[in-house]
């Protein structure tokens, strides 16, 4: 149990997916201009990450490893994720229109989000068992949502700030991300 709590905490803050592992930077800069879109994107990422990590984990353990074709990992994972995203989109459209309305526009963007493929691969290379995989993926996703949300609030304020001309847009966003990263790197001392 202690192990799982430790894993959850380090996945959430210390190994934060955006600020220390640099996965999912594109949505981090692209869709963080408004709070609502940051929330929507974060939710969609958690949702897809959980489903795709579970499926790829099972596939890896029971198909790829069983037939010792581990080198097919990259091809299989990306195809599974791409088709899963498509399936989730169709399924949500049919079953839960309100949820589709909230997450729908972010789903196609997620296929090329390196965070989803990255976490699926990290779960394999860190040799997590199924329960650890679930905990790790959930908290990595929550960490993504958390940082996205904080960052979107900062960027909303930034719209009213006098920013030097050359820094407008991406450069100032990156500098702010650097300041956030300083804060998050200090959490490393807790464990």
């Amino acid at each position: 149990m202690d192990n799982l709590i430790m894993l959850a905490f380090s996945a959430f803050i210390i190994e934060n997916i955006i600020l220390t592992q640099f996965l999912g930077i594109c949505p981090f800069l692209g869709v963080s201009t408004k709070r609502s879109s940051a929330l929507g994107m974060g939710m969609a990422v958690i949702f897809v990450m959980l489903i795709s990590s579970s499926v790829t984990w099972l596939l890896y353990k029971y198909v790829l490893e069983a037939f010792s074709i581990e080198y097919m990992r990259t091809i299989v994972f990306i195809l599974v994720i791409a088709s899963l995203v498509q399936m989730v989109e169709t399924f949500l459209k049919k079953v839960s229109p309100p949820l589709y309305k909230a997450l729908g526009i972010y789903l196609p963007l997620i296929t090329t989000n390196c965070a989803v493929l990255g976490v699926a691969i990290l779960n394999i290379s860190k040799e997590h068992n199924f329960l650890e995989m679930l905990v790790y993926t959930t908290f990595i996703g929550l960490g993504f949502l958390f940082v996205m949300y904080i960052f979107s609030m900062l960027r909303e304020k930034l719209d009213f700030a006098p920013v030097p001309k050359a820094f407008k847009g991406a450069p100032i966003a990156l500098v702010i991300a650097a300041i956030l990263a300083i804060i998050f790197s200090r959490f490393g001392g807790i464990i």
């Binding site: 390196c114 691969i121 650097a178």
Partner: protein, 222 residues
């Protein structure tokens, strides 16, 4: 467009990293040392050039193109993923230390937007030779950009420049001369965001300056 323009547009005018902001994740993560950046460049170069070549071969064949068109994105992804797997296996066998320091970012070349972006925007509509030239230019542009970031980060963070394996340029005497320590922050994640942000701002400033000058020239002439 002449071959020369086609080649150089990837390096300056349409630089994938600094102008279009594509492929950000690996460029922040692997730039802790110059060696890692060079390794990443080699991987991206191989995948981008060959994927551009193969995809433009497929799409310039009329019959095949018609067949592939409705499912072209999955087809592109399979081509790219195959090439990435080749890079992964070759690196694991011949450059194990580089393989482990790049880690998860080698398989993640698959979802690098530059490669899929060039496939969709250029290779699918142009001849194989042009696509290869475009791929070489884009890969070099990306490579030079991440090497620039890594030079700043490694020099400021450790005072050294590791080019390849044991071949290392030691510049710590500059820090000794100034009687300060290297700023370790720059090899940590913080440094990645900060360096990239500042370089981007500098490039925007230079570009704006250039544009103003051009505008003035036009105004004077008119």
């Amino acid at each position: 467009m002449s071959n020369k323009e086609n080649f150089f547009k990837g390096i300056i005018k349409e630089n994938p990293l600094f102008v279009s902001l594509l492929g950000m994740c690996p460029s922040l993560a692997v730039t802790t040392s110059l060696e890692n950046a060079i390794g990443m460049t080699l991987g991206v170069f191989f995948v981008l050039v060959l994927s551009n070549f193969i995809i433009s071969l497929i799409m310039s064949n009329k019959k095949l193109a018609e067949l592939v068109k409705p499912v072209r994105i999955p087809v592109y992804i399979v081509v790219i993923a195959t090439l990435v797997t080749i890079v992964e296996m070759v690196m694991h066998a011949y450059l194990p230390s580089l393989f482990f320091s790049l880690g998860v970012f080698i398989p993640l070349i698959v979802v690098n937007c530059i490669i899929l972006g060039r496939a969709e925007a250029f290779a699918s509509e142009n001849k194989p030779v042009d696509s290869v030239i475009d791929g070489v230019g884009m890969a070099l542009g990306y490579g030079l950009a991440i090497m620039l970031i890594s030079i700043f980060r490694e020099f400021l963070g450790k005072g050294t420049l590791t080019v390849w394996g044991d071949f290392q340029i030691n510049l710590t005497f500059i820090f000794d001369f100034l009687k300060i320590e290297p700023i370790a922050m720059f090899v940590q994640p913080v440094g990645a965001f900060l360096t990239f942000g500042l370089i981007l701002a500098a490039i925007t400033a230079i570009a704006n300056n250039h544009k103003n000058k051009l505008a003035k020239k036009v105004a004077n002439n008119g």
